[in-house]
């Protein structure tokens, strides 16, 4: 059993990948805000993508790296029928960063737990 590769860590990894991609999409919106006729782009909700990609947790202890990769394609990014508003994009960007930070805090706590467990056993 590999304690570092669990269904939860896999999910966190994929969620981090999702947030990274979302930051790219949101930054693109901000950069294109002054282009005439530019429409807002948004990545599909994580829940939908995760469902579609059929994340398989049955082999949760496997060291298969593919399990940790969320393959995001151009299809996962949709163009909405509304203009880009810079302020809204910045707000979404802040929201995204906060989510990212929260996930990293969880990862950090995981590592602390593992360290503690190792120190206690050793």
């Amino acid at each position: 059993m590999n304690i570092l590769h669990t269904s939860l860590t896999s999910l966190i990894h994929q969620r981090l990948q999702y947030l990274n991609k979302r930051s790219e999409v949101l930054t693109g919106n901000i950069a294109r805000a002054d282009m005439p006729g530019a429409k807002r782009q948004e990545i599909r909700p994580f829940r939908d993508i995760a469902k579609q990609k059929t994340i398989n947790f049955s082999h949760q202890d496997s060291v298969n790296s593919q399990q940790y990769t969320l393959d995001l394609s151009a299809k996962d990014i949709k163009t909405e029928d509304k203009e880009i508003e810079r302020e809204m994009e910045i707000m979404e960007m802040n929201h995204n960063t906060l989510n990212h930070q929260a996930l990293l805090d969880i990862v950090s706590n995981f590592y602390k737990l593992y360290k503690y467990a190792i120190s206690r056993s050793g």
Partner: protein
């Protein structure tokens, strides 16, 4: 001073950095590219606006010459194949087709036989509003850049302490 268009030259430093071994497939780094391209595009827009403001009162030296025409920066969204990401750049600089102002100034060297001289079609107040808009867009791109850097730093922090 001419405004550069086409490939974004300002990004060469970042390109060099990445070619030295940094991975290019990371979305966060792509986000940095996008934010940088937005900032550069806004810089070029600001430059054009500054030229417009500077030439708001420009008049021709000789009768019959055309005065300065207001410049308009046109942005373009393009896919950078080497980085695998959509960036923004200045597509071209267009010229405002509004007719120039006709000012009565008989003593001007550029005045015609009736004493009228053509003046640039720049509206200084409108340019100031455009300048403010460009400044806010640049600020938004900078904030996005900072947020991505913050995300990268947090990730590195967690890995460092692991």
């Amino acid at each position: 001073m001419s405004i550069p268009s086409g490939p974004i030259k300002g990004m060469s430093a970042m390109n060099t950095q990445i070619s030295k071994g940094m991975p290019t497939n990371g979305s966060l780094l792509k986000g940095l590219y996008v934010a940088t391209s937005g900032m550069i595009a806004q810089n070029q827009r600001t430059l054009a606006i500054t030229q417009n403001i500077g030439n708001a009162q420009s008049r021709p030296n000789k009768p019959g010459e055309q005065p300065y025409r207001r410049k308009i920066v046109i942005f373009q969204d393009f896919y950078d194949t080497s980085k695998g990401v959509n960036l923004v750049r200045v597509k071209r600089i267009a010229y405002d087709t509004t007719p120039p102002k006709k000012v009565y100034s008989p003593g001007d060297p550029g005045a015609d036989k009736d004493g009228f001289v053509l003046e640039s079609n720049v509206q200084a107040v409108g340019e100031m509003a455009d300048m403010r808009d460009a400044s806010r867009s640049h600020e938004a791109a900078t904030k996005a850049f900072e947020k991505i850097i913050q995300m990268l730093q947090s990730t590195i922090g967690v890995l460092k302490n692991a």
